[in-house]
Amino acid sequence: MKGSNIKPADPRRRSDGQMLKGAGFALLSVSIGLAFAVSLLLGPSGIGIPDLESVSGKAIFSLRLGRFFMGMMVGASLSASGTVFQALLRNPLAEPYVLGVSGGAGLGAALSILVGGWLPGLLGLPLTAFLFALLTLAAVYTIAGQGKGGPPSVYSLILSGVIISAICSSLIMFLVSTATIEGLHTVIWWMLGNLQPASPSQQIVSLVLIAVALAGLQFLSAALNVLTLGREIAHYQGLNADRIIGTALFLATLLAATAVSMGGMIGFVGLVVPHVMRALYGPDHRGLIPASAIGGGVFLVLCDALARVLIAPLEIPVGVITALAGGPFFLFILRRKMNDAWIA
């Protein structure tokens, strides 16, 4: 993109760019297929398609299929959510965890696991997680907005987000310390992050929530482009900036909370995958949001496959693998491409 600055305008250039992006999406689609294959072929019980004739083979197959869908949903949610937070806060360090959203969702989920459901089973965990995430976001906004008339500044938002996050993790630790042995194992595993398939009903509810949120964010994607220029420009460009920011924050929170309620505290995906996709794809959110979603899903599925086979038959929590495996790879990409994504 940068190299072409001296060349005179070339009318073909734009269609080239579009073709490039088309090719990018084809590549992403292929990567889904690849992730699907890897996910089905790898597992603690051995490499290869399990024998579908046997009962155990069938069970293994459906288990692996479930892991694939869990990985795609959680990874896509975290990554798309991070992309939107970074755009709204105009800050490369923003992610679902920064505004305390994940912390709040985590607290809600821990309460739901340890204290028990106050709502009928299938909705208990995701709804509690989402409610707590929203409460946290509201608290962060209120605290950050204190003392000034207008909307809170990015810096005060991030600062109060970090504070609220810390409070949430203290509360989670308190809950963990008072938990029974059985509850303890569940909640620790959940906190480390793993993609044990949730109940089918919870998966369906989550899928609907994720689909709604992604579609809503896609609808707002062009407005997000303008918002990266700041609230003032967005106003001049005929956007109701405050309403769009509010809606997008709500949807990104919904994504993050759903992901946390399904897969626990999985770090790294929401922060780094958006950067890599932005570096590869460019900052236009109309394509970046779907690209991030796919990229995050594929990345998490691959990490999960690794998590299952590395020290089989034992399983490593996928939250451990994401940063360990992804870190070096993404560092390599970002070192070369960071300037194509952010100029700060």
């Binding site: 420009i233 005929g238 952010w342």
Partner: protein, 423 residues
């Protein structure tokens, strides 16, 4: 009846706890080219933000083509008004073309590609503003002037009926500034585009504008044709410095020049002034007198007084008394010594109490030796002595020749006249 493009009706606006605009009323008919001028902090940008609906008036009403701006739908508002702000920051790596396309609201649909018409309009405004060659460069890597041209292109791409520019041509070099202005004037003439330009360049403004709005302290102090607004006395008062207006022999439009060179030359022979102040009331005097080239001394001040800090920072000789104590005979003796070496004495708007009343004796000292003394007007409001002693002393001093002063703008020429004659 023709509706005005912009109409302010007794508008007050600003930020919480800091109102800026006070009771501003004016109208701009469609197709007019208006320049908004005034010193820093006079409220020009605030007025522009209020006109664009970004700030809501706390009182009064802003109408744009008859619509109440705060009730206008955002999309309609953007089709009426385009704004080029002082600076745009694009932290993400958007290209110039992507930035300009933002101006085409319809092209911002989240699905599908922009129409041929949107592409053509973006292309046209980029040609107008000479950024077509930059279209694939990253916006944030451009120079300030190039960014301003791209920002103008984005606003023009909205095809608005009013365009507002907030100091948006300040970073342009002279040839691009002329070009941009020519484009604005062309669209202004051909399509009746209404232009509201905030500018610090008085000469440029009077050359291009149909009408000037001159702001000071959150109000419009004069509006009219360049000839009506560009008056030495008016501008000198508003900008609080010596300005001369004459006709440009080529264009016939009024041209302003400051007196920078003249004032420095005048001070070839230095005179010394003694300032009596306290509690921060002397800082502005220190600043202005030092800039004008006078030697300044000050006192008697208490240590820890903000004037004492300012005097030390500016290297001004100063007689000091212990903090929070009444001024003693030793200090006042030293100050009298300083006064005897000075060519005049100026009293700031310092409040008087029993502790510093003795400073007024310095004025008597000076008057006795035939030196001019200026005392800030309004002593009644800052006399905290029992028995109104400061008031009666100042009255006595005034009967012996001390002058009252109320604005820096009047005081400085007065000092220059009196003290130059003496040296």
């Amino acid at each position: 009846m023709q509706t005005d493009a912009i109409a302010f009706r007794s508008v007050s606006a600003g930020y919480r706890k800091r109102p800026v605009l006070q009771d501003v009323s004016f109208t701009v008919p469609e197709g007019e080219f208006v320049c908004l001028i005034g010193p820093n902090g006079s409220g020009k940008s605030t007025l522009l933000k209020t006109a664009a609906g970004l700030l809501r008036p706390s009182h009064g009403m802003v109408r744009v083509f008859g619509y109440d701006i705060s009730a206008l739908k955002p999309r309609l508002r953007a089709s009426l008004i385009g704004v080029v702000p002082q600076k745009i920051d694009s932290p993400m790596a958007f290209t110039v073309r992507q930035i300009v396309m933002n101006g085409r609201g319809r092209a911002r649909r989240s699905w599908g590609v922009p129409s041929q018409e949107d592409d053509d309009i973006a292309e046209r405004v980029m040609i107008y503003t000479n950024v077509l060659e930059l279209q694939d460069r990253l916006f944030n890597e451009l120079s300030a002037g190039e960014q301003q041209r791209a920002a103008l292109a984005m606003a023009l791409a909205q095809e608005p009926r009013i365009i507002m520019l907030d100091e948006a041509i300040s970073h342009l070099d002279i040839n691009h500034r002329q070009e941009v202005l020519r484009i604005l004037m062309k669209i202004n003439r051909e399509k009746r585009l209404t232009v509201l330009l905030v500018s610090h360049d008085l000469n440029l403004s009077s050359q291009i504008a149909d009408r000037l709005l001159l702001m000071q302290g959150g109000t419009i102090v004069r509006q009219g044709s360049p000839d009506e607004v560009m008056q030495d006395r008016l501008l000198s008062t508003v900008y609080d410095c010596d300005l001369q207006v004459r006709k440009d022999p080529l264009t016939g439009s009024p041209v302003v020049t400051g007196m920078l060179e003249g004032s420095v030359r005048k001070q070839a022979v230095r005179s010394r002034l003694h300032v009596v102040s306290g509690g921060g009331t002397g800082i502005e005097l220190f600043r202005r007198l030092s800039i004008e080239g006078y030697d300044v001394s000050a006192g008697v001040l208490n240590q820890l007084d903000s004037d004492a800090d300012a005097a030390r920072a500016l290297g001004i000789g100063c007689v000091l008394e212990q903090p929070f104590s009444a001024i003693g005979p030793a200090a006042i003796g030293q100050a009298a010594e300083m006064v005897s070496q000075a060519d005049g004495v100026v009293f700031s708007r310092v409040p008087f109490g029993s502790g510093n009343l003795v400073n007024l004796d310095l004025a008597l000292e000076a008057l006795k030796k035939g030196k001019p003394v200026w005392i800030a007007a309004g002593i009644e409001e800052r006399d905290y002595t029992s028995g109104r002693e400061a008031v009666s002393r100042v009255r006595l001093l005034e009967s012996q020749g001390a002058k009252a002063w109320s604005s820096m703008h009047d005081l400085l020429p007065e000092i220059a006249r009196k003290c130059r004659r003496m040296t």
